[in-house]
Symmetry: C2
Subunit: 219 residues, 2 copies
């Protein structure tokens, strides 16, 4: 198979003094970032790029400017690391929800609109689909520890969206929420397989149409 996995069993030829830290996103993070955090951040990125099974722990450690041993001191196994990255991704989603609620307090309809916009923007930016759903595709092994994380996130996401739909006062809020979720998941997976010009391009319009059909249209 052409699984040219980006592993390479980490060999640093020259003993480069750590002037780096270019690993972390070029933000204000010139302050020291603990190895553990670098590992999680890097793993999130690489799992998204290459798939969970497509990247090795060696490559993750090296990309995080550390080494495999330190990785295994913080995470007992690769599966543990996978679960942690999934948890971090879930928390990011939670932050988005909090942001929406802050911007439109007590306005369920506006929040729903903001949800569509936020996810649509996210869709433009991220070339990969939902990391959580992708993990579910890759990790079919029965009893994999990530399954619990995936299930928890999916249930929580559904509850939040259903509750939001319910607060708009419409009938059948569950159906609206599930429809929006299907559109979202579909757009994410379609974006991976067909790119931005594929069916994913009409995600926002499809959501607006659906909202209108359910009576949550904009004024």
């Amino acid at each position: 198979m052409s699984i040219a996995v980006v592993n390479k069993n980490a060999k640093r030829g020259s003993t480069v003094k750590p002037d780096q830290e270019s690993t972390s996103p070029p933000g204000l993070s010139s302050v020291k970032v603990a190895p553990r955090d670098r590992i999680v951040t890097t793993a999130c990125e690489l799992f998204r790029q290459h798939g969970i099974r497509g990247i090795g722990v060696d490559a993750i450690a090296e990309a995080a400017s550390t080494n495999k041993m330190t990785l295994y001191r913080h995470f007992g196994s690769k599966d543990d690391l996978v679960c942690e990255t999934l948890r971090v991704t879930s928390e990011k989603s939670g932050a988005m929800w909090a942001d929406i609620e802050t911007r439109f307090p007590d306005d369920a309809k506006a929040q729903l609109g903001a949800w569509v916009t936020a996810l649509s923007d996210c869709l433009q930016r991220e070339p990969s689909g939902c990391d959580i759903a992708n993990a579910a595709v890759e990790l079919k092994e029965a009893g994999h520890p990530a399954h619990a994380v995936i299930e928890t996130f999916k249930i929580l996401q559904r509850e939040k969206l259903t509750d939001l739909c319910r607060r708009t006062g419409i009938q059948e809020p569950e159906t609206l929420a599930d429809t929006l979720l299907l559109l979202l998941e579909g757009a994410r997976v379609s974006r991976q397989a067909s790119g931005l010009e594929g069916p994913a391009q009409c995600f926002q319009r499809a959501c607006r149409n659906t909202l209108t059909a359910f009576g949550v249209g904009a004024p």
Copy 2:
């Protein structure tokens, strides 16, 4: 340790009912199936169950009641086999389209309804999502030969559905087609991550609602 060879078929008499080949699913295929076909069929199944990266060629060959060497004589590499299974899956989809057109000739609206029903049934049966989309999730490596197969299928599927929507005479047939595709992909991926009780359960209703909103409602 070689396993008990289940092969030894007793083709003693001349007109013995071919009871052999208990390998293939208990269908009407008691006629001899060539190793190559057994491999493709088995690979489709195992890829779906364990993921492409989750099953090895050895296991596939054994499950197909043959061996790795024969597999490699028919397919130059595992990637080749993957592409072939994807092609076969595409053809099955083509068969579904032909069936729909046969059952409702020159009735675009009925065909659209049948499309929703057929995919909804398929969703109930198959625990795994769209094999093609799943492959896209698993095989992120640039230049993987499967990408061409995936792209071809996705484009063709989209064209067929768009054309069907256009023949109903509605406005914006592209948007309707893309919306239905998003719902389908979403339902498939959601069914994997959340099961049948998740958002996938409302796939059919969401499709019907969408059809109604676009003016393709039932009489």
